[in-house]
């Protein structure tokens, strides 16, 4: 055998294609990076990438193909919680481990599927990380509104952040939701305008974050805007909102300050690869997920000593990976005996004002 295959299923077409493509590019960079440094077990890594078309049925089909036709021993994917949950029965059926790089639903690791290892944080973890930074804000956060996309991620994040804020004695104001494809948020923002809160926590994808921040500026929303989930409203870099209007973003990777990463050399390797491929700068805030996930898988294969599914799974429990975000190591979650793996990443706060970014 010349190469070791890793299956990747990501949304490359359809509504969430942008993020899926970022992650896939991150994965490609990782594979190249490893191969340039001698590969794993003396063999080169080969990514087999399939499009899950932003659709759970296609996610299942793509995984069937990767496992049955390409015979990949390990998988990475599938971006959203729905797609991930849809393919999870297949993992048990065929006994193939999956490293989940993005999905945030708590169900993924609590469903009792021992083939699942998640590198991305749950919303609860993100909220806890944010809790540590909360006192750094001035003026202080006293009352918080929410604007969330109404999927598992947005609603889950709102719920976890509320829990955390309440524990800190902070008042919860109004909560508004939006469908992922909504472009005009004026009704939601108008409803939030008069709540008297000082902070608005927004959870959604890049497009909607951009629209929300811009339209909030247009409607002169008084709240300070904080976004969660690691997405960054990249279009605001080139076309900033109204002057003086600032927003803050919880990120897991901040390419504006790679030196602040726990392993700057790894972060730099990732960023170099990104640059070499001529990709959008801000996309690195999402792309690193694919990079770290592949590094993790490669490390597991090395520890396992062979490209065998069960061995890789056992090895995943032992890995200690230096990733772009920081250290990746898995702890157990879910019902005893059938635990899934969950890593705990680092969080950065980044401020965007007049098209300029500063890392806090």
């Amino acid at each position: 055998q010349e190469t070791i295959k890793i299956g990747v299923t990501e949304p490359l077409t359809g509504p969430v294609a942008a993020s899926g493509t970022y992650v896939t590019n991150g994965a490609r960079i990782a594979a190249d990076y490893i191969n340039q440094n001698g590969g794993v077990l003396g063999k080169k890594l080969q990514l087999v990438i399939e499009d899950n078309k932003s659709n759970p049925r296609e996610a299942v089909n793509s995984v069937e193909k990767l496992i049955l036709k390409d015979k990949v021993p390990v998988l990475m994917g599938a971006w959203s919680s729905t797609f991930t949950l849809a393919i999870m029965p297949k993992l048990t059926e065929y006994g193939v481990p999956l490293v989940v790089e993005t999905a945030s639903s708590s169900k993924i690791t609590t469903a009792g599927n021992p083939w699942v290892f998640r590198t991305s944080p749950t919303s609860a973890m993100e909220a806890q990380a944010f809790a540590k930074l909360i006192d750094g804000f001035s003026p202080a956060i006293k009352k918080v509104d929410f604007l969330s996309v109404n999927n598992d991620w947005g609603l889950g994040a709102a719920a976890e952040f509320k829990k955390m804020l309440e524990a800190k004695g902070i008042t919860i104001g109004r909560t508004e939701t939006m469908t992922p494809d909504m472009t005009d948020l004026s009704a939601q923002l108008a409803a939030l305008k008069g709540t008297g809160s000082d902070t608005l926590i927004v959870t959604s994808g890049i497009e909607q974050l951009t629209l929300a921040i811009r339209q909030a500026g247009e409607q002169r929303l008084p709240q300070r805007i904080i976004t969660t989930g690691g997405s960054f409203p990249e279009p605001l870099l080139k076309n900033p909102g109204p002057k003086g209007y600032a927003s803050q973003h919880l990120l897991f990777f901040a390419p504006w300050a790679p030196e602040r990463a726990k392993h700057p050399e790894v972060a730099k390797a990732f960023m170099d690869g990104w640059k070499a491929r001529n990709l959008e700068f801000a996309g690195q805030t999402e792309g690193f997920r694919g990079f770290d996930a592949i590094l993790t898988i490669a490390e597991a294969i090395r520890v396992a000593g062979k490209a065998d599914s069960a061995a890789i799974r056992d090895a995943l429990w032992k890995v200690q990976v230096k990733g772009a975000n920081g250290d990746v190591a898995f702890s157990k979650e879910g019902p005893a005996g059938k635990e899934s793996g969950q890593a705990s990443p680092n969080v950065y706060v980044v401020e965007l004002k007049d098209g300029k970014v500063s890392v806090k």
């Binding site: 490359l12 077409t13 089909n61 069937e64 193909k65 029965p89 598992d152 609603l155």
Partner: protein
């Protein structure tokens, strides 16, 4: 006759070519072919273009999933939550069909006054509202958090007891069985007085009423059966994918069904099956050949090409060709295309 041969051929496929990937792909397409067969009853025979067909698919899926998993929900005006224990899968599956059929009947009632483009928008709206409900009634449906751990359908096998239908071949046969049943059901309806009444509605509603055909009644029957079968397809989807979320109400799913029906040839019995096999399997054929965007573009181009060169769909055009060929060969005309429009 041809039909029996086809069914037998499909039935022994897993024995002669037990490639699990192929089987899973065909089964997955099969689920949508079943939905397309049901859509054809509405679109092809009553002439009502429903772009909300996925609503019934989703309702079937949610009903059977919720019943087989059990749920508790506080209804408006109730002090005690309503607790429903998990039910046997097959019972849930049947309930899913019934519930979808009831919803079909309801939509039939609701939409009985509108036709054409207006019917289209009513059905789209209905599906959208269903999706919003699934998304926002978190107490019941878990909303976007998805229902997972849905049990598989079971079968009692002599000697082995009750087994879960999870293997590729068993899923395949399960889908095939439901598919054949749906096909026969639609065929029986269409080739009857009831079917003629439906076609009359498609052709000229005013005239149909004047000869005593209660069009709303037959439109109702058509929607009930179409919705019920779509509900069965949804149930199969839920019990094979084993997780559902409001995405089962995706507009794209309706589009997929419509593609299968029209490309195959609406108003013909074999149309949705042929169209479904072609365009259900096409994505898998294209997978990995070129980049994903190009795969889609090829898909679109082929779709247009079929309709440009075979304006009525594959089955009627093939039927015409066959007839012309046999006419030239001096044989009796093949009854293929005829039978379909009867």
């Amino acid at each position: 006759m041809t039909f029996l041969v086809c069914v037998l051929g499909l039935a022994i496929l897993p024995l002669v070519w037990p490639d699990p990937y192929m089987l899973s792909v065909v089964a997955s397409a099969g689920i949508f072919i079943i939905a397309a067969i049901s859509l054809n009853l509405l679109l092809g025979f009553t002439g009502q273009l429903s772009l909300g067909h996925v609503a019934f698919f989703g309702l079937g899926a949610y009903t059977t999933s919720l019943l087989s998993l059990g749920f508790d929900v506080t209804l408006w005006g109730m002090s005690e939550p309503l607790v429903v224990d998990p039910k046997p899968v097959w019972l849930s599956f049947v309930c899913g069909i019934v519930f979808a059929a009831v919803a079909g009947w309801l939509l039939g009632k609701l939409a009985f006054r509108v036709r054409g483009a207006y019917f289209v928008i009513v059905t789209i709206s209905f599906a959208q509202v269903m999706r919003m409900v699934a998304l926002n009634w978190v107490d019941l449906t878990e909303g976007p958090m998805a229902l997972n751990g849905i049990p598989a359908l079971t079968l009692w096998v002599p000697g082995e007891g009750v087994i879960d239908l999870v293997t590729k071949a068993s899923t395949y046969w399960l889908v095939l069985a439901v598919g054949v049943l749906s096909y026969l059901l639609v065929a029986a309806i269409v080739h009857s007085r009831v079917g003629r009444a439906m076609i009359a509605l498609r052709e000229n509603e005013v005239l149909a009423r004047s000869v005593g055909i209660r069009v709303t009644h037959y439109l109702g029957i058509a929607t009930i059966f179409a919705a019920g079968i779509a509900g069965a397809a949804g149930g199969l989807y839920a019990h094979t994918v084993r997780i559902i979320d409001p995405d089962v109400f995706m507009f794209m799913f309706t589009i997929m069904m419509v593609i299968m029906v029209i490309v195959g040839g609406k108003g013909t019995l074999a149309g949705p099956v042929v169209g479904g096999l072609l365009f259900g399997l096409l994505p898998e054929v294209l997978r990995g050949v070129v980049s994903p965007e190009i795969q889609w573009m090829i898909y679109g181009v082929l779709m247009i090409a079929v309709l440009v060169f075979m304006p009525k769909g594959v089955v009627p055009s093939a039927g015409n060709l066959l007839r012309r060929y046999s006419a030239r060969a001096g044989k009796t005309p093949a009854p293929l295309a005829r039978r379909k429009t009867a």
